[in-house]
Symmetry: C2
Subunit: 152 residues, 2 copies
């Protein structure tokens, strides 16, 4: 799907706030309500917009202890990798997990309440997964930026 300038502006607005009225986006983009309505439907239909979600203040729900956990596997057989990834998907504390090149195999973003809970997570959940060679935890001292949006 080709995005024109109006589409890009619209996606930008929807990534900032998806709960405005069609009329508000329309006024902002100098289009009619129907035009914006149809454009949004098209963005949804073609899969550019995948879903709409509420964002939560991690501090308010006591999950603002964030750790970037670097993991090396012992063995890199297909079965081991798939099992590892399947197990990671089950862990609610892990909001992001990337298989990466470089010094480590995986980088995880983990959000828990405090160090005690992180230790618990490590001991009872993470290292319970077979085939983990070593881990290196980088504790977040400060969140400079943390947004799910993508510039377009």
């Amino acid at each position: 799907m080709e995005l024109d300038e109006k589409d890009r502006q619209l996606v930008k607005l929807l990534q900032e706030d998806c709960k405005k009225t069609t009329k508000e986006y329309a006024d902002n983009l100098q289009l009619s309500k129907t035009a914006v309505y149809e454009r949004i439907r098209r963005l949804e239909r073609t899969g550019v917009i995948t879903n709409y979600v509420a964002l939560v203040d991690k501090e308010k729900v006591e999950r603002d202890f964030t750790v970037l956990c670097h993991i090396k596997l012992v063995q890199h057989t297909k079965e081991n990798v798939l099992r590892f990834e399947r197990e990671i998907l089950k862990l609610a504390e892990v909001s992001e997990c990337f298989h990466v090149s470089g010094d480590y195999d995986y980088i995880l973003k983990v959000s828990v309440k405090n160090m005690k809970n992180y230790r618990e997570f490590m001991v009872t959940k993470l290292t319970a997964i077979n085939n983990i060679g070593s881990t290196q935890s980088s504790f977040s001292i400060r969140e400079v930026k943390n947004s799910p949006s993508v510039y377009i």
Copy 2:
């Protein structure tokens, strides 16, 4: 603010999909429309829910080349740190930036189109920031999980 079980379930639902009707959440939680409506307003008012956003398919908008970039600063004076963070905030390609403990000072999540664009980003934007000592780029081979939501 204290969250009861209904609140937690509601936040979970809203983090998955914030565009359902009040009635749908009400049916799911076995509450009336008004009860759910008031609970949502309270979650917003107390700052548990910060905002509502559209999520975009990075592949569809050609920003699915993801890199976790580890940065060491040369000097850690207050001014240097603040200037570095101020400059990072300006870079649209950086969706996340954490000041961390451990081997590196900062970990960034960068989303661009391809390696060529990443190189451009590094050369013209990132290393243009003063005070960067060294960088280590971990290229995402596969996104196992990538969600902005928090378990509660």
